[in-house]
């Protein structure tokens, strides 16, 4: 049946697929570059956390094909609805990395400008953002725009009721949304087998009349190709599309997590063998699209990128206590003004 996803994840780097074309080498090279920079950024953020400069950091190491694929398969006029895990995706989308880290540094809940980046704040309450993506996509198409909204979520988040409601609203309103599930095998400590008994998470599309596909999330070419066609499907007015990418997070859930409690070194090692950057690099090199010089240049760019982040993160911007009251409402209520006055008195007493 045409509305069934593939019975196994689409792969492209190691084998051709009848339904999906390999992206252009130049696009794959750009993807490779973004993945290398993204990984370096991710490592930098992990280091900053160890140094106490970030309150918390959820790493996406191992998921770079998805992180970058999501960012590169949509345009600047499209919208992204990311989670806490998707910092690398935001960086690949071109958002200032220090602004991305503002949330995790603890300065404010969102550090980048949502309207101009067309990127929603990184979302923590699981799956809730998928509904925002549907509403926004519907709103944009009402205005006659061909904007697509891409909603990122994890395997665990698919269990939340909001995901169900989002798929259904999107299908009923034929909203141009791509739901992109990064199935990294775990929701914190809970493995997929305790999360779902479905043939695949992509199969969840069927019950809504939402077209879906599953893809090898460590195969950057396949991720790009499948997301490209999902985005095209949505943009063309054919309604939402659900993509499940099978991937793995190499780091613990966050720096505060102890992954040894729930998974084996062998499992991690197994996935190490399918490292998305190595897979892509091997492919590019085999095709003659990447040589040592280019690889080195990109590694250098990544180092520079990280260095700039490191330097800029040295300065901790002053946070203004009065910010507490500034944006609760467009105009503060009399009650907030009273409380602000109280705070001022307290601050003056210091």
């Amino acid at each position: 049946m045409e509305w069934l996803p593939s019975s196994s994840p689409v792969r492209l780097l190691e084998q051709p697929d009848p339904n999906y074309a390999l992206p252009e080498p130049s696009r794959l090279l750009a993807t490779y570059r973004a993945m290398v920079i993204g990984r370096r950024f991710d490592a930098q953020a992990t280091t900053l956390t160890k140094q106490g400069r970030l309150a918390v950091y959820p790493s996406s190491r191992g998921q770079e094909a998805c992180q970058v694929g999501a960012a590169l398969s949509i345009g600047t006029d499209d919208w992204l609805f990311p989670t806490y895990r998707d910092s690398v995706s935001l960086v690949s989308r071109g958002i200032d990395p220090v602004e991305v880290l503002t949330l995790l540094r603890g300065d404010w809940h969102c550090g980048y400008d949502v309207p101009s980046t067309r990127t929603a704040p990184q979302c923590t309450p699981l799956a809730t953002q998928t509904l925002h993506a549907v509403g926004l996509a519907h709103g944009e198409s009402r205005k006659g725009n061909d904007t697509v909204a891409m909603a990122l979520l994890g395997d665990g988040a698919t269990s939340e009721g909001d995901f169900h409601e989002a798929l259904n609203f999107a299908a009923v309103f034929r909203a141009p949304v791509v739901f992109f599930v990064q199935n990294n095998g775990y929701a914190i400590s809970v493995p997929l087998a305790k999360q779902s008994a479905a043939p695949s998470l992509a199969h969840k599309g069927i019950g809504y009349g939402v077209r879906s596909e599953q893809v090898d999330g460590n195969d950057a070419a396949a991720v790009l190709s499948v997301l490209d066609s999902a985005v095209a499907h949505a943009r063309a007015g054919n309604g939402p599309f659900l993509v499940e990418a099978h991937t793995y997070r190499m780091e613990p859930h966050t720096n505060a997590d102890d992954a040894a409690r729930y998974r084996s070194p062998e499992e991690v090692e197994h996935w190490q063998q399918r490292d998305p950057i190595s897979l892509l690099e091997r492919h590019l090199r085999a095709g003659g699209h990447l040589d040592d010089a280019t690889a080195e240049r990109i590694a250098g760019e990544a180092e520079e990128f990280a260095a700039r982040v490191r330097t800029r993160m040295q300065e901790e911007p002053e946070v203004d206590p009065e910010d507490l009251f500034r944006h609760v409402y467009a105009e503060p209520t009399p009650q907030l003004l009273e409380q602000l006055a109280q705070l001022r008195t307290e601050q003056e007493a210091l």
Binding site: W108, H109, C110, D113, V114, P115, A120, P121, P125, T128, T130, L131, H132, A133, V134, G135, L136, A137, H138, G139, E140, R142, K143, A149, G161, D162, H164, E165, A166, N168, F169, V172, D323, R326, H327, V328, Y329, A330, T333, P334, Q335
Partner: protein, 342 residues
């Protein structure tokens, strides 16, 4: 001037808002062809098309979350929750997103969403149809919470709520939908955030909102027989709250009872009582009392009359305002008024 029910006033407000502002979108369960189970959206779809007033799938979190996205894309969603209790599935979207989005984004993304909630009881509904949920919302920073008690306020406040740059939980007392007032629409009443004195009085102040406002007026009328001249203040807006008008009113009478239908414990009346005694302590001849629903799940139709505050319960509370003590402390009044005002 024509006798206008609150339901008609709300319908007119939606109609005028849709007509005047192309960003206004009305959606929810059964609001389209049916016009809503209370008919508040009656005829909107027929007049303005499915584009402006439409049914959604049956999922309240979905409705609220979808509204967030619509608002982010520049629209002004006005959503209907079919009954108080059926807004509970949307609680996370309301508390964790709708209330917080402006704050999270440092003001870059405000969400001008109106959540219309037919609220409170007294209509003989079976379980889950008569809850009062205002305290949940009023306790959540980032939401405005209003509860009109007259048809004129219903119209004016709904128009203002729709124009408000922030999310407004708009509580429509079910039992007042069919109560009428002689008014001319459109009309503009006091802005959101202001209370209104519904009845002057020198001896005690009743503070009410939504469905307890007509109750307060009836009780005040009945209190005349006891020789008490009772003032009635309609709070109208719970967030923001009109401390000024209300504290002044209570200081003038020195006695205060706060009314609500919701269970008393940790309800909005507790907040009002706490604020009033904070602000008017030295003017008070007796503690601020509350008359509220009992701390029980909303009862079945046959028992709602014993659960809901009625005139007698309000009179009982007025009687407990220690009238006899008054002479003892009256001499302190001048001093106290000064202290409170300071």
């Amino acid at each position: 001037m024509a006798p206008t029910s609150m339901a008609q006033a709300l319908n007119a407000a939606l109609r005028d808002a849709i007509a005047e502002d192309e960003r206004v979108m009305v959606f929810g369960e059964d609001v389209g062809r049916l016009g809503g189970v209370f008919r508040i959206t009656d005829g909107l779809q027929a007049s303005f098309g499915e584009d402006r007033c439409f049914d959604t799938p049956l999922a309240e979190s979905g409705i609220a979350g979808f509204a967030v996205g619509m608002a982010m894309s520049g629209f002004r969603p006005v959503v209907e929750m079919q009954f108080d209790a059926f807004a509970f599935p949307a609680f996370e979207q309301v508390v964790s997103h709708i209330a917080k989005m402006r704050n999270r984004t440092r003001g870059a993304v405000g969400l001008p969403i109106v959540i219309r909630v037919p609220f409170a009881g007294g209509i003989g509904g079976v379980e889950h149809h008569c809850d009062s949920s205002e305290a949940y919302y009023a306790h959540t920073p980032g939401l405005k919470v209003v509860a009109p008690a007259t048809a004129a306020d219903a119209y004016s406040m709904l128009r203002e709520a729709i124009d408000d740059p922030d999310p407004v939980v708009f509580l429509e007392a079910k039992k007042l939908y069919w109560s009428k007032q002689d008014i001319e629409l459109p009309t503009t009443t006091e802005p959101i955030g202001r209370a209104a004195i519904r009845r002057p009085g020198r001896d005690a102040t009743l503070i009410a909102y939504g469905p307890t406002v007509p109750l307060a007026v009836s009780a005040a009328e009945a209190a005349e027989e006891e020789g008490w001249d009772v003032q009635v203040v309609d709070a109208r807006s719970l967030v923001p709250f009109d401390d000024e008008t209300i504290a002044e009113a209570v200081r003038a009478t020195g006695r205060c009872v706060v009314l609500q239908e919701a269970p008393g414990f940790a309800g909005v009346a507790a907040e009002i009582a706490a604020r009033v005694q904070e602000r008017c302590f030295h003017s008070l001849a007796s503690p601020v009392l509350r008359v509220a629903g009992f701390d029980v799940p909303y009862p079945p139709p046959k028992l709602e009359h014993v659960h809901l505050p009625g005139v007698d319960r309000v009179l009982d509370a007025l009687a407990r305002l220690q009238w006899d003590d008054q002479p003892d402390t009256k001499w302190l009044d001048g001093v106290r008024n000064q202290e409170d005002a300071a």
